[in-house]
């Protein structure tokens, strides 16, 4: 009897703490989004009121859409993220397959070499990366960003994917070999489809830092045509810092795409983490 009571008490306390923290986590986002739909006066007078017919105003959004070239920025971010993701997944999976499938001299060493990049951030090489891109004529191109992000994403991708590929059954691959499939066919038609869940996990982990990065767009591709959405909204907000409607609308517009992607992939992300993808 007393035991069940303490149990209920404990679960109420657990819910209370979790709910409080959830509110802390969501509150700032909530405040920004509701105020972006309100008139300037309402933003200042009653910041916590939800948008209603009395204070409804979309002037912030119209300013943003007229002033900033947000569509172009969005397209740039999309191009960079999708292309880097493609190369990280393809090259990463290939290397992971070589490391987990074949025994060859230097296997362990190669694995360690590729894993080095998990601990040492690529940013520390920025000075030489910029010189490299200048001499290759790639400054202010999206190619420069794609190359950098591919290199940045590979170490973790190889590490996670090779853990997963070790669990693919040998019998299956050997059956393929007996049927005369080449090693390339075995990789592309047998192994890749089986590690698809792991690929999705890696994709989410790789995508978020690329989409949100400010450092490399600022240094390698700050021109108007190559600005990513993160850099674009940073510059825009800096210029319009006193136009609160526009700032709040720009922030809301920047939140929405990531939020939608996250809600689509969140199950995958959580499953990936809890499956021991990151050890």
């Amino acid at each position: 009897m007393s035991r069940t009571r303490t149990h209920t008490g404990r679960s109420i306390a657990a819910h209370a703490i979790l709910l409080t923290y959830t509110l802390i986590a969501l509150f700032p986002v909530f405040v920004i989004v509701i105020n972006s739909f309100k008139s300037r006066r309402a933003i200042f007078a009653e910041p916590l009121m939800p948008p209603m017919p009395g204070n409804w105003d979309l002037v912030g959004y119209t300013t943003v859409l007229q002033q900033g070239d947000f569509f172009q920025y969005f397209l740039n971010s999309m191009t960079v993220t999708v292309a880097s993701l493609f190369f990280v997944l393809l090259f990463g999976a290939m290397a992971a397959f070589a490391l987990s499938e074949y025994r060859f001299r230097g296997n362990l060493l190669m694995g360690l070499y590729l894993a080095l990049g998990i601990m040492i951030p690529i940013r520390l090489g920025t000075v030489a990366i910029l010189e490299l891109m200048v001499s290759a004529g790639l400054v202010n191109t999206l190619t420069a960003l794609i190359l950098v992000y591919t290199a940045q994403g590979l170490p973790l991708a190889v590490f996670i994917l090779s853990e997963f590929m070790r669990s693919v059954s040998d019998d299956l691959k050997n059956a393929g070999r007996i049927d005369g499939l080449s090693e390339y066919r075995i990789f592309f038609t047998l192994v890749l489809p089986l590690v698809r869940p792991a690929m999705a996990t890696v994709a989410v982990f790789t995508m978020i830092p690329i989409w949100n990065d400010l450092w490399f767009p600022l240094i390698l591709a700050p021109s108007e045509e190559t600005k990513t959405i993160t850099l674009g909204s940073q510059v825009f907000i800096g210029q319009f810092v006193t136009n609160w409607n526009a700032v709040l609308a720009a922030l809301s517009l920047a939140i929405v795409p990531v939020l939608v992607l996250y809600l689509i992939f969140s199950r995958q992300l959580i499953r990936g983490i809890t499956a021991g993808a990151v050890k």
Partner: protein
């Protein structure tokens, strides 16, 4: 006669793209940067100067004041993360992993949301909320009768760095939460049942059984936090600009590197001093990682289930 195995070309083909891109864009520039720190400009030509740049960085008061200031600020940034972010993360994970908790998936998803937002959003959102002009924060403190506690936290030298560190904690608490949560879920039921047989439940069970089992994960989180903190730049840049105001009180190594290397306002960028700072950061991170790998990780007992 020993038959040599034919050379397996496919291994090379599988490895080549990843190794080439990784080596060309990451490893070579990294060592290029380390190497560049040994050079400087003299009469527009790049000349080898040995360790002179480091002497300037640590010895010349114009540089060393900024460097030690950034380094200390960075340490404080890290201390706040270790003291606030990781305990909160562990607490949330422990609560989430309790069996039969309803809405666990909802809490998990919601608490992780700040982590996926970009620094631009996070920086400006908190700037707006803490702003004395708009005043959501002062208004809310007023509602509970604590208005006297309010100060323009981001604008005061003594509070700005701590405030930004807490904002960063707010953003990243999802990561330790998720990793610890995963570690707690992987503890087998037998162990928990055996503990319950011995009368250990609730908090004592957490302290005596679960915590020792998740120590390796806590170690990983600590080193991830360390590398992340000593490499961070974006949040400070977005919230306080490249000058890391007020009066450099929020300057950390990342912003110091950016200003030096890329220049700001009237100061020209200096790739050689930039490379020198990057090398110092590299050394700091390397020392941290080595302490973790050889000093901590090998001493943590791992349990195989």
């Amino acid at each position: 006669m020993a038959r040599r195995k034919p050379f397996r070309w496919h291994i090379g083909v599988f490895l080549a793209p990843a190794v080439l891109v990784y080596t060309a864009i990451m490893i070579i520039p990294l060592f290029g940067t380390l190497n560049l720190s040994l050079y400087n400009l003299a009469d527009r030509a790049r000349v080898f100067v040995g360790l002179a740049n480091f002497e300037t960085l640590f010895g010349d008061p114009r540089w060393s004041t900024a460097f030690w200031n950034a380094l200390w600020n960075n340490c404080w940034f890290f201390i706040i993360h270790m003291a606030v972010q990781n305990p909160i993360g562990i607490l949330l994970a422990a609560l989430l992993s309790s069996p039969k908790l309803r809405m666990a998936a909802f809490y998990r998803t919601a608490i992780f949301i700040p982590t996926i937002l970009s620094f631009v959003i996070v920086g400006f959102v908190w700037k707006l909320i803490l702003s004395p002009i708009w005043g959501i924060a002062p208004g809310m403190l007023d509602a509970v009768g604590l208005k006297f506690l309010f100060a323009p936290w981001l604008g005061k030298e003594e509070y700005a760095l701590t405030t930004l560190a807490l904002v960063s904690v707010w953003q990243f608490v999802g990561i330790p939460m998720m990793l610890i949560y995963a570690a707690l879920l992987s503890i087998p039921d037998d162990v928990i049942e055996a503990a319950e047989m011995d009368g250990l439940t609730g908090w004592s069970q957490f302290w005596k059984i679960k915590l020792p089992l998740i120590l390796p994960s806590i170690g990983i989180i600590s080193i991830l936090t360390f590398v992340g903190n000593f490499n961070s730049f974006d949040l400070i840049y977005v919230a306080q600009g490249a000058l890391a105001g007020p009066n450099f009180s929020t300057d950390i190594l990342g912003t110091f590197l950016y200003r030096t290397f890329f220049g700001f306002q009237l100061q020209l960028g200096d790739p050689h001093m930039g490379a020198t700072i990057a090398t110092a950061m590299f050394a700091i991170i390397l020392v941290g990682v080595c302490i973790y790998l050889f000093g901590i990780q090998t001493r943590l007992r791992r349990y195989q289930f």
